[in-house]
């Protein structure tokens, strides 16, 4: 069972209170992008064993989207943060580095 802290409500929300929204930090490819870039944007996803960044929605609560960093193999949650950001904030990265030294995910490490 996954319990994520909603950064908007300030409560620990159970997985059943939430709705998963897939991978976080996707870079949108719009008009002018190549077919390959657009295909990447639409279909290519990280599928790591370990550190992962995801979008979640507090659907039974405030209804807001937020982002979460967690480990797919242990379900350990490193932190949650506002969705109004284009990359993981430094404190989240530090929290992951403390637990999983040398981690990488996409372009982040």
């Amino acid at each position: 069972m996954l319990i994520l802290h909603c950064p908007y409500c300030g409560v620990d929300a159970d997985e059943t209170d939430l709705h998963a929204g897939g991978e976080a930090h996707l870079k949108r490819q719009g008009p002018g992008s190549s077919d390959a870039q657009f295909e990447d944007y639409l279909f290519m996803r990280e599928n790591p064993k370990g550190v992962h960044f995801e979008r979640w929605r507090h659907v039974y609560g405030c209804g807001k989207w937020f982002l979460a960093a967690r480990c797919t193999s242990t379900l350990e949650v490193f932190g949650t943060y506002s969705a109004q950001t284009t990359e993981p904030p430094q404190d989240i990265k530090d929290a992951i580095s403390a637990k999983r030294p040398g981690w990488t995910w996409g372009n982040y490490s």
């Binding site: 908007y8 059943t16 405030c62």
Partner: protein
């Protein structure tokens, strides 16, 4: 105009913990920039209670304010006062970007009263309801069984639950069943 009736018209399930549909209550959903003084002061003047902090509800009698999300607050008031209140909001927030909607008839209000009301709720919602974590004044939007609901504690032994009118019967039966099944003894004093 036809007479307004509440979802379950005061349905009652008496017992050690009593489940009671609380009848009609005026409710207004107000969305907007709630860090702004405008909406805060109109909320205060309409309900007479302080604007709630994150995750809190300030309720006094039939009037109150519930914190729904960073940009949404629920105003509670007697059923008949909603029309005037909406007019007052419109007047006060004229130049602002906001949304205010009467939701009285879209919702149902159920009271859960009795010694182990806390356990009746804890069995149904994925919320830590330990007395040290959740007490009078705290407000939580979550789910109750299979439906969305919000609740707060009126006092140590009473919960007020708000759910959508269309699922009022389900929520009522769920609470009544949970109460009938008795206490678990999980929240032991001390």
């Amino acid at each position: 105009m036809s007479d307004a009736v509440s979802a379950l018209q005061g349905k009652l399930a008496p017992g050690e913990v009593t489940i009671r549909e609380a009848g009609l209550r005026g409710m207004i959903t107000l969305r907007g920039d709630l860090s702004d003084r405008g909406p805060r002061s109109v909320c205060k003047s309409l309900t007479g209670v302080a604007f709630p902090e994150q995750g809190k509800a300030n309720v006094d009698g039939e009037k109150g304010l519930c914190w729904m999300s960073p940009d949404e607050v629920l105003l509670l008031m007697p059923y008949g006062e909603v029309g005037d209140a909406l007019a007052a909001i419109e007047k006060a927030l004229k130049s602002k970007h906001y949304l205010a909607e009467k939701v009285s008839d879209a919702r149902a209000l159920i009271h859960v009263e009795g010694a182990f009301a806390r356990e009746v709720m804890a069995k149904l919602a994925p919320v830590d309801l330990h007395p040290g974590t959740f007490g009078p004044g705290d407000f939580r939007r979550t789910r109750l069984g299979q439906v969305a609901a919000a609740f707060w504690m009126r006092d140590e032994d009473t919960f007020a639950v708000i759910c959508f009118r269309s699922v009022a019967e389900y929520a009522f039966d769920l609470l009544a069943e949970s109460a009938k099944a008795g206490a678990v003894g999980h929240f032991v004093e001390g």
